[in-house]
């Protein structure tokens, strides 16, 4: 994988990662946006769309409510995209099976995202007492800067997660490619279907709506019938 690929990925990881919590929240942090964006910059949007489709729904049911830190699906999406395109160029792979291999390797490393994000938030725990001290000295500008410096720790957490995922992939993808690729070759199309379905299932299992199963069953059945008959 070239340094340029790694760098482009890091820029996307940083921008989209900050959007998760620290800034804006215009949802460029969602996998369906982050993965195609990274893939577009690396030269193959289609891979990003595939990855976005598979990752987007998986953790949607984990809402960032209150003090909850959900798993970092942004970095999983960006990391998997960079691995697929960066390593794919080196190993001369561009199949769906290879994309899936990179994704399945990236997914468990997403746990680190939660860890780093929580570290950043715990590190910010010293800010309230610091800013109380600054207030006593009437340093209001300093208080504002103290707040803004949080961008650094959140950005660092995103970058570290991205690097851990890519590093893990660099080690594991070549190791597992020979054993898992043939298996994924056969299962590829099924997994491309089943991963979004798992995401839909987790949403159904946790959404706060009465009769969610009835609604889902009815619309699934109806759409299915339409596509069958038409």
């Amino acid at each position: 994988m070239s340094f340029a690929d790694l760098f482009i990925g890091a820029v996307v990881a940083l921008c989209c990662g900050l959007d998760r919590t620290a800034a804006l929240q215009v949802m460029i942090s969602r996998p369906i946006v982050a993965a195609p964006l990274a893939a577009w910059l690396l030269g193959d949007v289609a891979v990003g769309l595939q990855l976005g489709l598979m990752v987007e729904l998986l953790w949607q049911a984990r809402l960032p409510v209150g003090a909850v830190v959900p798993p970092d699906d942004t970095q999983i999406a960006v990391g998997a995209t960079v691995l697929t395109l960066g390593m794919g160029a080196v190993l001369e792979q561009n199949s769906l099976a290879f994309t899936l291999l990179c994704l399945l390797i990236a997914i468990p490393f997403g746990k680190f995202g939660q860890f780093f994000d929580r570290r950043a938030r715990l590190y910010h725990g010293r800010k309230p007492s610091l800013s109380a001290k600054m207030l006593e000295n009437q340093q209001y500008r300093a208080m504002e800067h103290l707040h803004l410096r949080g961008l650094l720790s959140f950005g660092l957490a995103s970058l570290l997660t991205y690097l851990v995922i890519v590093a893990g992939g660099l080690v594991l993808v070549p190791m597992l490619a020979s054993t898992l690729l043939p298996a994924l070759e056969a299962a590829g199309h099924w997994l491309r279907l089943l991963l979004p379905l798992v995401g839909i299932a987790t949403i159904l299992g946790t959404i706060n709506v009465n009769r969610s199963l009835t609604l889902f069953g009815a619309s699934f059945g109806m759409a299915f019938l339409l596509m069958w008959l038409v």
Partner: protein
């Protein structure tokens, strides 16, 4: 006479609200962001002498939904203007923040995270499955329209009406709107699931009716999720079963006459 804030200052506060959660921490959550957003207003209204006392009230715990925070801050600006004119406030700043934050957060979480996010994702994923490059843009446009309206209108409405603006939730029956959004999202997700299944089965020339057999699988995974199994676990369970299953299926095909 109603005293006004110059539009420049309002815009400044609004832009600062985009950085509300920079210093998010477990002690005061968005507390640091609140002060950061209010600082331009306080600086405008109060001199060096009063500033310290006033600023102290704007420190401390605060947490609400980032898209509804502008509505809270807008109202807080109005309250500060009234106070600086010497009118006694009917609620203290601390009480106001406390009273408004949690209900706004509850409604925002339900409407935006719980409802709008899966709704816009299901439409965008349909396009992504078709390989259309516009999918991410469509997602961004569908998702962001409503939050942007809340961020702008909520802020101005709060600023105009002050304390009265908190009837906002009731007037628009937002909790019920959230439920309807979620119901729509579920219907769309059903359509997306059916589309993905049909797409694969047509591609593989499998009889289409057998796609209905996937419904129990979805419900089964949903049940696992409901019982608290993590997504990570379900993903690995499903992927390994699929990989093993496909291997096995190939063997069966070989053995068939």
């Amino acid at each position: 006479m109603k005293k006004q804030m110059p539009p420049r200052v309002l815009l400044h506060v609004w832009l600062r609200l985009l950085l509300l959660q920079c210093s998010w921490n477990f002690k005061q959550l968005q507390g640091g962001g609140w002060f950061y957003a209010m600082a331009p207003v306080l600086r405008r209204l109060y001199g060096q002498k009063e500033m310290q006392q006033i600023a102290r009230e704007h420190l401390g715990y605060f947490n609400t939904h980032p898209y509804l925070a502008p509505a809270v801050v807008g109202a807080a600006i109005r309250l500060e203007i009234e106070r600086s004119q010497g009118r006694a406030p009917s609620v203290t700043m601390k009480d106001f923040k406390e009273m408004v934050a949690a209900p706004y957060a509850a409604v925002g979480d339900a409407l935006f995270w719980g409802g709008l996010r899966p709704l816009s994702a299901s439409i965008a994923l349909l396009l992504a499955a078709k390989g259309l490059v516009v999918a991410p843009l469509v997602f961004l446009i569908i998702f962001n329209a409503l939050p942007l309206w809340f961020r702008i209108y909520g802020f101005l409405n709060g600023y105009e009406q002050g304390l009265q603006s908190i009837t906002f939730l009731q007037r628009h029956k937002l909790p019920d709107l959230a439920i309807r959004t979620k119901e729509t999202a579920i219907v769309l997700l059903g359509g997306l699931a059916a589309f993905l299944v049909c797409e694969l089965f047509n591609y593989q020339h499998t009889p289409l009716w057998s796609g209905l057999l996937l419904l129990p699988l979805i419900l089964g995974c949903g049940y696992l999720a409901r019982r608290g199994f993590s997504t990570l676990l379900i993903v690995f369970l499903v992927s390994s079963l699929t990989i093993i299953g496909c291997y096995f299926a190939e063997d069966v095909v070989v053995w068939l006459p």
